[in-house]
């Protein structure tokens, strides 16, 4: 067996699955994918593709037509240009994009800075690429902002890259223009790549998302996909934009390990980009309303949370309750039939946070918030009585 695998722990979340399945009436706030269905224009395009037989391999890099749409989309939203012929690669989701990026840039023993709390794949994928994850922690007290001096201290002569994710899973926090510029300066100074996972970029609620590629395009490996804004999780489709030479090397891996991203999904993705405005017009106000509602409810019941900039997560603190999040989540599930994800799934330090996903309709969110409030009240009352 590959020795690296012994360093990778299976996800602890599995345990919860079985419990949820056993009860029928659970409201799950633990879901990392949108509740909105894939727009019918997109599904219809996928069906049409199968009907007409557009079901063959595409070029390794992906359909040129799709790459051109992606390029246009980035110009429209971010005012930067990636050449569809040389700087864009279509992947099986951001998941594969991350894997390709890390495998392409790392030599054994190279270090990658990972900012916690973060999405669960960054560390294992770094390890599997013979890299060494170096964790930079952010904290609730500092609104999960990066301490730039600490970031610099984490950089060694082995450091190859920093992985950024904004809006962030699990906190929903994003970076401001200034923060992005400052991080870009550091990457420039120390000659580091920035792997920028911007999969939630379209789901930004109070301002426009800005990519760090605006400030140091040549060092950025820009990752994005169709899973979140278009709900196309099962289509397994995303893309990488980066410097031409880097992309050529990524293609060496991609052509043999994946050949190409699923053809039907590629055609569906073209349709998604062509319907972007219509789709976002429908979902953004709804996500924003839910975010505001959940934020308010949690803070009112004493679970302090920071207002997320985007994505569909909120990461409240449960410190005031005095139970660690694994226990909290388990009891909440057993006693109130609400599923959430314990904070330590996103970094070992976050034992007093839970991740709540608001990818659920308002009615369900309301019931779930009522149940959590009840739960919190009961625990606090009991604590009071014991005293």
């Amino acid at each position: 067996m590959n020795k690296l695998l012994s360093k990778i722990e299976p996800s602890g979340i599995r345990r919860f699955f079985d419990i949820i399945e056993r009860f029928g009436d659970v409201i799950s706030l633990g879901v990392g994918e949108p509740d909105f269905q894939v727009d019918w224009n997109i599904r219809e395009e996928a069906i049409y593709c199968i009907e007409k037989g557009a079901t063959r391999y595409t070029s390794n890099q992906g359909l040129l037509e799709l790459r051109e749409e992606i390029s246009r989309n980035i110009v429209k939203n971010q005012k930067i240009y990636y050449d569809p012929e040389r700087e864009i690669l279509v992947t099986c989701g951001v998941s594969q994009g991350l894997d390709l990026a890390l495998r392409t840039i790392l030599n054994p023993g190279d270090e990658v800075i990972i900012i916690e709390p973060c999405y669960v794949a960054y560390k294992p994928l770094t390890i599997l690429s013979y890299g060494r994850p170096v964790v930079l922690k952010t904290s609730e007290e500092n609104s999960f902002k990066i301490d730039l001096d600490e970031l610099k201290r984490k950089i060694s002569n082995k450091t190859k890259a920093i992985i950024l994710n904004y809006p962030n899973n699990p906190t929903g926090m994003s970076f401001s223009k200034n923060e992005l510029k400052e991080i870009a300066d550091i990457a420039n100074e120390f000659n580091l790549y920035i792997i920028s996972d911007e999969i939630y970029d379209k789901l930004t609620y109070d301002r426009k998302h800005i990519t760090i590629a605006k400030y140091i395009k040549e060092k950025v490996i820009y990752l994005n996909g169709f899973s979140k804004a278009y709900s196309m999780t099962g289509f397994r489709i995303g893309y990488i934009c980066c410097d031409e030479e880097l992309l050529r090397n990524m293609l060496k891996i991609h052509q043999y390990s994946m050949l190409c991203a699923p053809t039907i999904s590629q055609y569906a993705a073209i349709e998604a980009l062509r319907n972007e405005e219509k789709i976002l017009r429908k979902i953004l106000p709804e996500y924003k309303a839910r975010r505001n509602y959940v934020y308010k409810r949690l803070n009112e019941m004493g679970l302090k949370a920071i207002l997320p900039d985007g994505a569909f997560y909120i990461f409240p603190s449960i410190r005031s309750i005095g139970i660690e999040s694994e226990k909290f989540s388990e009891r909440l599930l057993f006693e109130k039939r609400v599923a959430v994800v314990p904070g330590n799934a996103f970094g070992e330090d976050y034992k007093y946070n839970i991740r709540i996903s608001y990818a659920n309709d308002m009615k369900k969110l309301k019931i779930a918030m009522d149940r959590i409030e009840e739960f919190v009240k009961e625990i606090l009352k009991l604590k009071e009585e014991i005293k």
């Binding site: 399945e21 799950s28 999405y119 106000p285 709804e286 505001n292 599923a339 994800v341």
Partner: protein
């Protein structure tokens, strides 16, 4: 706030003022006043959509195209108003193309609608001809789709 409020109401028609006040970070009283204002201005209107068929009560609907002669000074409006005033008529549209008006009529039976068309509608001053299509089945109405809701295929927990 008005745009945002209206958007929320459209997708959550039965949301209460208290929840709206949390979403919009406004006083509950302020939201209630705003709702009253929107209602009195005719910007929002609450209405139940009842699926009579579900409890076995039949309703028959017909889509009727009407050719009319427009009137000097008021165009199609006058005859359209006369048609619209009938309780049986659920909708009236001025349309482009071969016909002038398209109306939707509701009744208890085919006979009732047929009688409405021949006795009331066709005999109206200004109505030149009509063509009636009975509605056999409804698949979608006012954005509401009458097929089974799609199942939620998501895993209960994913990171």
């Amino acid at each position: 706030m008005e745009d945002e409020l209206l958007q929320i109401l459209e997708s959550n028609p039965d949301i209460c003022p208290e929840d709206l006040s949390k979403i919009l970070n406004k006083d509950k009283k302020e939201i209630e006043n705003k709702l009253k204002e929107l209602e009195s201005k005719g910007i929002i209107k609450k209405k139940y959509i009842i699926n009579w068929e579900k409890i076995g009560i039949d309703r028959v609907y017909a889509l009727i195209k009407v050719k009319v002669s427009p009137e000097r000074g008021r165009g199609y409006d006058k005859v359209a108003e006369r048609i619209a005033r009938f309780n049986e008529v659920r909708a009236v549209y001025l349309i482009s193309g071969e016909y002038d008006l398209e109306i939707i009529v509701e009744g208890k039976s085919l006979k009732e609608i047929a009688s409405f068309v021949s006795n009331k509608l066709a005999t109206l001053d200004g109505v030149k001809s009509t063509v009636t299509h009975f509605i056999l089945k409804k698949y979608k109405e006012n954005g509401e789709i009458f097929f089974e809701e799609e199942k939620d295929y998501r895993l209960k927990i994913s990171l």
